[in-house]
Symmetry: C2
């Protein structure tokens, strides 16, 4: 550790950074590793951006709307359920929102709770905050241990639903069983909710300690612009607003997000296509005899079986490596027993899924598989 | 305090949010309040953005380059002085960088030092962190108390140079006198350095505990895209990278910043025009008999004198209110004795400065002035 590194706070000097999925800069990859949308965003997005930029980009010299106010109003309108702009905080991606929630609610004696597996950013955000964690281990059923969550002493509990990297969704009836007795902040991280059968937004009116987090990175095909948001009681929104950066969402991202939320017809079509491809994909893996969770997200979590019918961490790694060598990028999470035998595969176009399938067929014909 | 607010950490529940300058959404204002550039960004910026958006915005479906790698390389090249991409971390505005520095280096027993007056965001960031502060009060001379800073026990000292809201710059010779003995992190926040006679970048090679912070919001006319950066020893950059959001700078902002840094000729012209208008403005206030600091920034800090020759907080407030009522927006900082009798006026176009001057003339003819 160099002299200058030793100036950093001890917990910062030793922490483990979050590892994002690979973002190759060269072309030629079948990129099924970071749950991006395989289709372009609504054409209204490019139109709105070109309009905001104008002839000479002159509007860019001015700071953005500090509260993203028009966007908050549009988000509230989009969800309905009696929500108003006062129920919305917009972030520089939903990771910004998650970070603000950890910062405002969690510390050494106010633990952040989450299930394992779930979104692997939570423990990193808690480490940055030097906070305590309250970890609820799932089992292979991936069902939610409702009583253990309800009884947890977490100041804030983060539930990814549909869950990552499994794609398994949790029913509102289950969330309400937790909310009936849990007194901390209950954060439902719904990055993948547009692909699910139900979502927690209708519960907001009933539970002031419920926060729903959304992103435009997945279903809205806008990972590149970084917009996410929280829906919650106005008092919780007020807390987030006091600690977020005054200008956390830039002008172009605000314009793009507004345009996207104004084109429900386009995105209904995109989501329907992805769900159809996903469901065919899940059936195809089942037909291979690979254990695959029912997915309510835009990815598939499947347990590869090699030519000898074996599963396990080495098999998953071998499949990952073969796909990688053939420029098909998926994700492998070797750090946990419940995930290490699996691959997480983003639902791409039908053509991309065909490339994946054919590459897996080729792998199964190799001598090592 | 509602039930849900009481779930927030105590220091968060009671903290004072940063107050950004007004961003009126209607037109018709002469906007001289947030130190934006009065000229459009380089035409290469709009070109690069339209190219990145493409026909249908398809690239926006993908996450941005997580490290803003091409931009880091361009920033290093832009500054020269032997810097490489390893000396650069890019943020969602320089406020993102300042927040990361406070988070990584400051806490209750590792104080954040800063002068008063200086950028009023520092105490807010320390409050969010529940950290300790080490405040060095300046006097009306606005000279830097070198020995007090050098002897301060701050873990990280934040120096705004040129200073805000005064516009007074600190010489490299003075910075080196501090750096000769100060062993904490020395952060020189150079948001306004392109308008100054010198800057601290050439000192980086000599002092591993020096951090220089820059922004594209002022001289580069890109407040709307939110890009700032830190220049420092690779070990400090490594610390920032471990705690920043993986995708903190979106695709369009990276493209815009790259294009801007590629057009030095355009921006040399913009900066020269602003400096010429500024220097005429400073002389004009002096000619009114108003005490005005020498400015090395893109704003002017002046002490209004009313028709009876009086100065003071009430006079500054009256001038501010008159300007506001006539749709000329400047900034008044009533919270400190050294700033409350002054107005901070962003250098606009010559036409905007004429509107300001004529409105002040009209104020001086009113019976209350």
């Amino acid at each position: 550790m160099s002299d200058v590194t030793s100036l950093a706070l001890p917990h910062i000097a030793k922490l483990h950074a979050y590892t994002p999925g690979l973002q190759p800069s060269e072309s030629g990859w079948t990129k099924l590793n970071t749950n991006e949308c395989p289709y372009a965003p609504s054409p209204k997005v490019a139109e709105a951006l070109v309009r905001e930029i104008g002839e000479d980009g002159a509007s860019l010299r001015l700071y953005p709307n500090p509260k993203s106010s028009p966007l908050r109003a549009a988000i509230a309108l989009h969800h309905g359920e009696g929500l108003t702009a006062d129920n919305v905080c917009v972030g520089n991606g939903s990771d910004d929102i998650l970070n603000l929630l950890i910062r405002a609610f969690c510390t050494q004696d106010a633990a952040a709770g989450y299930t394992v597996p779930s979104y692997s950013l939570y423990p990193v955000l808690v480490e940055i905050q030097d906070g305590a964690t309250n970890v609820i281990e799932l089992d292979r059923s991936m069902r939610l241990p409702l009583d253990r969550i309800a009884a947890s002493k977490a100041r804030a509990f983060f539930l990814t639903s549909p869950n990552a990297p499994t794609g398994v969704a949790f029913a509102n009836a289950d969330l309400e069983r937790v909310l009936a007795s849990f007194r901390g902040l209950f954060v439902v991280d719904e990055a993948y909710a547009p692909f699910a059968k139900e979502n927690a937004v209708p519960l907001l009116a009933k539970y002031p300690n419920l926060v729903v987090v959304r992103t435009l990175s997945k279903a809205y095909a806008l990972a590149g612009i970084r917009v996410g948001y929280a829906l919650a009681h106005p008092d919780i929104i007020g807390v987030l607003d006091r600690i977020r950066d005054s200008y956390n969402v830039n002008r172009l991202s605000q314009a793009a997000a507004l345009a996207a939320l104004g084109d429900n017809a386009y995105y209904s079509g995109v989501v329907a296509r992805i769900k159809a491809t996903r469901d065919r994909g899940v059936r195809a893996f089942a037909a291979r005899g690979w254990f695959t969770y029912e997915s309510q997200s835009n990815f598939i979590f499947t347990e590869p079986k090699n030519a000898r019918g074996e599963t396990g961490p080495a098999v998953a790694k071998a499949a990952y490596d073969y796909l990688f060598a053939h420029k098909v990028l998926v994700r492998h999470f070797p750090s946990h027993a419940l995930t290490t035998s699996f691959l997480r595969i983003t639902v791409g176009t039908d053509d991309e899924m065909l490339v994946l399938s054919e590459t897996l067929d080729a792998w199964l014909k190799t001598t090592n598989a």
